[in-house]
Point group: C2
Chain length 467, copies 2
């Protein structure tokens, strides 16, 4: 063709991976899914496109400003001719919570409650292009949604799921941090900070503690915009600084709170129950803690709230967050649907973990490369590959003959661990020569025993690090 | 809230499933992925949004008319004020082939060739709304892409993959049908049908054989629009009617073709090599056949072409199609990138299989329900659940106590196979009572042996059908 090539490139703000990074990413997705399923959550997938009218129930918010709208060629033509009225009919989901609300309301009569679902799909936001900010990213969510009511006990399952997921992901020590919105509300009201918007603004100032220091925050909160008393500010700063150091310490911290404050004590009772059951679920006490500075979205969460941080990488921030909400789907149904859930933003997390050197390019998903000595041996190679595949081994065959050294080099570069050699000698003896590129080891084995031998090797724990 | 609820609903032309159907769908996706990986294909995911300029290299085609364009709120505002020039910047992918071409061209220097990739993602087409037509649907593709050249041997791997996938999907007997575009071209040229467009038009008429009958097709092809001789038409109809009945018959059919026709014999040689290696790869000869009526996209495929049909459900049409192409990414790079690949349109296939009663609602992904006799036993239930989960069993715990009969009914309705009962009696003896809802069987087992006992049960082949 004579035309100049178009430069092949992706739009800004998306993450596209080379295969071995994709394998690493896929393994994380698989681990999360496996653990979500292990805790009895059921899979749901929703369409990437929702009706704009259904998706954008709250108008004018930050979210709507970031929404991507979708138009077919036909709809676009009509809009250009001024025939369209207002917003395009379709838009891309910007999270998995609104689709969950729509799904539960739409299928309410076909679902069993409490409804436990997981959903792991990509969402879309027209973010400002910026390093580490993504316009397309995976969210991996679980939620338990009750009808009319949902026991606080369900709040205790969530840390157990978080613990299982991040233990298996093996990205380092982590702490699941717990707080409770009722407890916070009760405390702030007692300090004279009654209006929820004011609470939110106070918390935003408190968030600047690390950056600006205590003096700055104290001055701001006692200053014109807030007008809090120095005593209240001191109490607030002491409160939000509370972190428990063990299970017993967490209970003691709760015991120390004002017993006469009703709203606060509601939160205390909920946190006590959650802590007790989190322990019964086997989460080690080193891996969870109270943290009274955690608030999450103040307009949405109403009870327990969660954040999880990596102990050695606090700068990464929360890697998994969520909480308890009062009513999931008030825009779509008159049924009251309280719930509790969390979300892992995997695309951003993966990016951060790579930046921190905590995830590496994976070995190939191909476990065995069947090399080819010469064209005559190809049928033997193909039937060997068939035996390996039938035994469940991911196997690639060299289809175009080349020098054996080149085939080995290919396997090494591709991250394939085992290479088989099937020469005239081996074919005559009914054996296969195997090179283990990870252990730099070589052995000959009867062909009938090859698959089993490789499976044993692969089942052994991975003792050696690989670059 | 006082506003009237918005009716929760999905846009037309998408498939959204209830959890147990989603589980059935997910199992098909997993099976396809497992087999793609077993044959040494590497995972790739690309962003759902591509730059329009990159995606729409060919202008004015049917495809472009069906494209969905994407605009952020900001871009939409500018377009409304007439500031936009032409098409929106972003569009949703309409297949996985164009993204593959872009990906390979973009990452050419980071990939090893032949590059073997699989990709299983959703694609978007602004189809006319119609029963069984989807605007969002999964494609599950594999391709092997060579640099400069790619041996015909790779064409032989594809039927082996198809065979592995559909054997394991277990949706009934199937036949992988093979043809070769060079063979077809050689044959048609010998009948005086030289122009590729004319060949395409002739094949379109031939496609009407079943519906309109041979007389109609014969009249059309000898009539004004085509002007073929009655002898040519007879030869064409005989040719496109050829189906082989065994491996030997396939070779005999090829032997019987005009040995003096060079182009045709090129195709014959390729098909012979493919047939030989397909056999070496262990595909039973009952499961593949020559079918000289198969053409696929005439402007794209240049060698081997594939279609796969269910023997007992021919009306479903091809469930997996593809072929060999000359150059994947001529729009993006000057490198020559020949390849061979197939695609399974899983959303449509799943829909058709459900309509035909060939896939059923799955059992729950939850394998065990831990019931709760009373609130006091909850900690015991939670630690039992923990043991089961640690042993790899997907386990749900009843968190809110209710009558045991109600808990059993819930498990049955939800498709959960095992239900455990942990009463004061069992707690005292260190045992668990298990009810197997599938076998309507009940047994008591030492708690330490429970997980292993359930794993043995679950590993046994599924002998009984469930509605």
């Amino acid at each position: 063709m004579s035309h100049a090539p178009i430069k092949p490139r992706t739009p800004p703000g998306v993450m596209e991976l080379l295969p071995r990074d994709q394998i690493a990413f896929q393994r994380m997705l698989d681990t999360i899914r496996r653990n979500y399923e292990r805790f009895g959550f059921l899979p749901v997938e929703t369409p990437v496109m929702e009706l704009s009218e259904v998706l954008l129930t709250k108008s004018g918010g930050e979210t709507e400003r970031q929404v991507y709208f979708v138009q077919s060629t036909g709809a676009l033509g009509k809009a250009a001719q001024g025939e369209g009225d207002g917003l395009p009919e379709l838009a891309l989901r910007f999270d998995l919570t609104v689709p969950l609300a729509r799904y539960v309301a739409e299928h309410e009569h076909d679902l069993a409650f409490p409804f436990r679902r997981y959903q792991m799909q990509r969402v879309y936001r027209g973010e400002r292009a910026q390093r580490g900010r993504f316009r397309e990213f995976y969210q991996c969510d679980i939620d338990v949604v009750g009808k009319d009511s949902l026991s606080t006990r369900f709040d205790a399952e969530i840390p157990a799921v978080i613990h299982a997921v991040f233990s298996e992901l093996a990205i380092g020590r982590f702490t699941i941090q717990l707080n409770n919105r009722k407890l916070m509300r009760g405390f702030f009201e007692a300090q004279g900070v009654v209006d929820p918007d004011l609470q939110a603004r106070v918390l935003r100032e408190v968030d600047k503690l690390d950056k600006r220091g205590a003096d700055y925050v104290r001055e701001t909160l006692t200053g014109d915009g807030f007008g809090l008393s120095p005593e209240s500010v001191a109490a607030i700063l002491a409160f939000v600084g509370i972190r428990s150091t063990s299970h017993a310490d967490a209970l003691a911290r709760l015991d120390a709170l004002d017993p006469s404050n009703g709203a606060l004590q509601e939160g205390v009772a909920e946190l006590r129950e959650v802590l007790e059951l989190v322990r019964a679920l086997g989460v080690p006490e080193s891996d969870y803690a109270l943290n009274f500075s955690i608030a999450r979205g103040l307009d949405y969460y109403t009870g327990t709230v969660y954040e999880t941080t990596l102990d050695d990488y606090p700068q990464i921030g929360s890697i998994c967050s969520g909480g308890r909400y009062e009513n999931l789907a008030s825009h779509y149904t008159k049924s009251k649907l309280p719930g509790v859930g969390i979300s892992i933003g995997l695309t951003r997390l993966f990016w951060q973990l790579r930046e921190a050197g905590l995830v590496k390019t994976a070995d190939s998903s191909v476990q065995v490369l069947v090399t080819q000595m010469d064209a005559e041996s190809l049928p033997h190679c193909l039937s060997l590959a068939r035996e390996l595949r039938d035994a469940g081994l991911n196997t690639e065959v060299v289809m175009e003959p080349s020098k054996l050294a080149r085939q080995f080099k290919y396997a090494d570069k591709a991250g394939i661990r085992f290479v088989t050699v099937l020469g005239a000698d081996e074919i005559g003896k009914g054996t296969v020569t195997v090179k283990d590129l990870r252990r730099a080891d070589q052995f000959e084995v009867a062909r009938a025993e090859l698959a089993q031998a490789l499976r044993v090797e692969l089942a052994q724990p991975d003792m050696e690090a690989r670059a």
